[in-house]
């Protein structure tokens, strides 16, 4: 029988009480661990967001974004103006095109469809051209709902609603709506948010400023159309070669094609025109100043300068508050666990005063008895931690998302992009909005974090048990033994 064995034995002296204590401890420890896991997950996400969206400004024609709105287009000449603004590191022009699958387009008109009022699109900036590519995204409920007006106009008078109809003009198949593919001409190897393209196979386009029939295709679009590096496809009856495949990380972002800027301008027959400019600033601190300077340089009647990560900033700040809340909750739960241990051990010491006196009478050192009580507390904490870790691994995901949704509901009202643009229009920010980001935080209980949390719990438990353990030193055997 060692001190440890005795402590374990003592921990189970009153089994019902031990079970109750362990249950209460498990709740506190489980909560602490879940909060720590949530804190770590959110912290990681914040870091990731800060790294991915540092210093990018987007310039759109005043009054327009993506394919929506009106106003005068931006021009290549303006990129020089933008580049001259202090702290601007680079300016990349983009030209957005909407690619319509040829068969779908031919149901309404024959030949190259230009300036077709695209599904969900308004008048203005966007240019639609045909392609032989099939979109990798099914229209689905959202697509069909979003595009009811567009497809209605396309199918009016088709007469295909009646059974047995043999309309000669029609192909016989109902003109099912297919989503457009986003094609963007880019002046450098970056996406429309200014992030470097992640090319997973093949190569880039080389010189992005000259026209070329090379293109980059998103992963899902490539899979859908059986494209590899070297394959060919057509845009506006012109044959393009796939130079490389890229992964944008989102389904929407991967249903896209990139060409060189000059090529896209040629396809749209609008040389020198830009849909947007992606401006990179040298550091986070200078972003606000550069934004103002850029707006002044370009003229507010001509261009809207928006901070690409504005909605991300909201997301980051709301994630930051989640992080702080979870940290406070972690500390509170940890403190509660410590307090529970403290109170239980004080109770046990009082209950066993006589026994402690006897042990001292027969020669036990104060530290032997103190150690015995600390070990007993640790046995209880160990059991509580096992149960608590199980609770945490089940609960942390739920707790994290509960924390986040309660926080992002306030953020959601302010997270709309500038210029009234809704969630990710074609060619828009692949990050649809803060809520999408927030839900992508997965609080998986990693063993390392759990281990660190359990270590913290044990640290607090030792402190909590030390106070009552020190109380045992003050028990004088003569006083407790005289009671007989």
């Amino acid at each position: 029988m060692s001190v440890l064995a005795r402590s374990v034995g003592n921990a189970f002296r009153n089994k019902i009480r031990t079970a109750a204590v362990v249950a209460v401890l498990a709740v506190a420890i489980g909560l602490a661990l879940a909060m720590l896991v949530a804190n770590q997950a959110v912290g990681g996400k914040v870091q990731e967001l800060n790294a991915s969206v540092g210093t990018v400004l987007t310039v759109n024609p005043a009054g327009a974004q993506g394919f929506d709105g009106g106003g005068e287009p931006l021009t290549t000449a303006q990129t020089a103006t933008a580049a001259a603004v202090p702290n601007v590191v680079s300016v990349v022009g983009t030209k957005a095109l909407r690619l319509e699958t040829a068969t779908a387009a031919s149901t309404s008109t024959t030949g190259t469809a230009t300036q077709q009022a695209g599904p969900g699109g308004g008048p203005g900036g966007g240019t639609s051209v045909t392609t032989n590519l099939q979109a990798a995204i099914d229209a689905g409920t959202l697509g069909n709902r979003n595009n009811t007006s567009g497809s209605t106009s396309g199918s009016t008078g088709s007469g295909s609603t009646g059974t047995g109809s043999t309309g000669s003009e029609n192909t016989g198949t109902a003109p099912t709506f297919s989503l457009p593919i986003t094609a963007t001409g880019i002046g450098a190897e970056v996406d429309t948010a200014g992030k470097a393209l992640n090319i997973t196979s093949g190569t880039g386009l080389g010189d992005y400023t000259v026209a070329s029939t090379k293109a980059l295709v998103g992963t899902t679009l490539a899979t859908k159309n059986n494209l590899k590096a070297g394959s060919t496809f057509t845009i506006a009856d012109k044959t393009f070669t796939v130079a490389g495949i890229f992964d944008a990380g989102t389904t929407f972002g991967n249903n896209a094609v990139y060409t060189t800027l000059a090529e896209a301008q040629a396809l749209a027959a609008t040389p020198g025109e830009l849909s947007s400019m992606v401006v990179t600033v040298n550091s986070m601190e200078n972003v606000d100043a550069a934004k103002t300077a850029l707006q002044t340089a370009l003229g507010s009647s001509k261009a809207d300068v928006t901070q690409g990560q504005r909605n991300l900033e909201t997301a980051v700040s709301s994630l930051d508050s989640v992080k702080n809340i979870s940290l406070v909750a972690f500390i509170a739960a940890l403190g509660t666990a410590g307090l529970i241990i403290l109170l239980i051990m004080v109770m046990l010491v009082r209950e066993r005063r006589r026994e402690i006196g006897v042990l001292k009478a027969i020669g036990a050192r104060n530290r032997t008895i103190g150690l015995q009580f600390v070990l007993e507390a640790l046995v209880l904490v160990a059991l509580g931690s096992v149960v608590g870790a199980a609770i945490a691994s089940f609960a942390s995901d739920g707790i994290a998302s509960a924390l986040i949704s309660s926080n992002s509901s306030t953020a959601a009202t302010t997270q709309r992009g500038p210029g009234g643009a809704g969630f990710g229009g074609p060619g828009g920010n692949p990050f649809g909005g803060a809520s999408q980001l927030l839900t992508s935080v997965t609080a998986s209980a990693s063993p390392g974090v759990i281990a660190a949390g359990v270590a913290a719990v044990f640290g607090v438990a030792v402190v909590g048990a030390l106070v009552p353990a020190l109380l045992t030193a003050r028990i004088r055997p003569i006083e407790v033994l005289r009671g007989e």
Partner: protein, 233 residues
């Protein structure tokens, strides 16, 4: 050898001071079985706790084999209790959730003895106090009073103490069991050559000890000294 020199212990209760031990002196040779009788509240337990370093005297000293307790710090007093003293209490005061063997092994563990040696010695001691072997692994609260007191005596012997202090060890036992316990203490004092001081208010039990003291009004007086041989007869 135990020397007790002019020991005084006074308590203040309210504005009254009482001196249950008021100038007690005596000596005990090694291996003596001695008894103290006295009325309830006469200060017998107080005297024993002074001898066992559970309490500090107001004045006077206890010297054990030439070492004075008066000059020892707390840590040394704990060591003195662990190594030189064995306590036997009226209420047995065993640890209820431990087995008989585990209880006997406790003082040896505190003294740093190795586990195998502890177990062997505990079993042999329990044999000497005549506890049935099958009861050695039983939890204390599953044993009778007499059996518990045997275990307590074995525990007192664990570290081969110089002095065993037994405070009314038969007080909670029936007459016959009490007699067995006194006989056991008597034979142990002979076999181990251990000094044993027993407090009792049972005169017939006191008769069986070699030296008999009476505590009265804080003073100790000795009754007739019987030769050792006679005591064993």
């Amino acid at each position: 050898m135990i020397e007790v020199k002019d020991l005084v212990r006074q308590f203040k209760s309210g504005d009254r001071t009482i001196k249950p031990v008021n100038g007690v002196s005596f000596e005990l040779e090694k291996g003596t079985l001695a008894s103290i009788v006295g009325k309830s509240g006469s200060g017998k337990s107080t005297l024993l706790s002074l001898l066992g370093a559970l309490d500090k005297p107001t004045s006077g000293d206890v010297v054990v084999d030439g070492v004075s307790l008066a000059g020892l710090p707390a840590g040394k007093l704990t060591e003195y209790r662990r190594r030189d003293i064995g306590f036997v209490f009226q209420q047995f005061n065993l640890i209820p959730n431990l087995s008989a063997v585990d209880n006997v092994m406790l003082p040896m563990e505190f003294a740093g003895m190795r586990k195998a040696a502890r177990l062997e010695r505990a079993r042999s001691l329990l044999e000497q106090v005549q506890l049935d072997p099958e009861k050695q692994s039983r939890r204390i609260n599953k044993l009778s009073g007499g059996e518990q007191q045997r275990v307590a005596i074995a525990r007192a012997l664990a570290n081969e103490p110089k002095l065993i202090l037994a405070d009314e060890p038969t007080g909670n036992l029936d007459e016959q069991t009490g007699e067995h316990i006194i006989e056991l203490l008597s034979s142990l004092s002979r076999d181990h050559n251990t000094t044993i001081l027993v407090v009792t208010h049972d005169r017939s039990l006191a008769q069986k000890t070699e030296r008999r003291f009476r505590l009265q009004q804080g003073k100790l007086s000795e009754e007739t000294v019987r030769p050792r041989v006679a005591a064993r007869a």
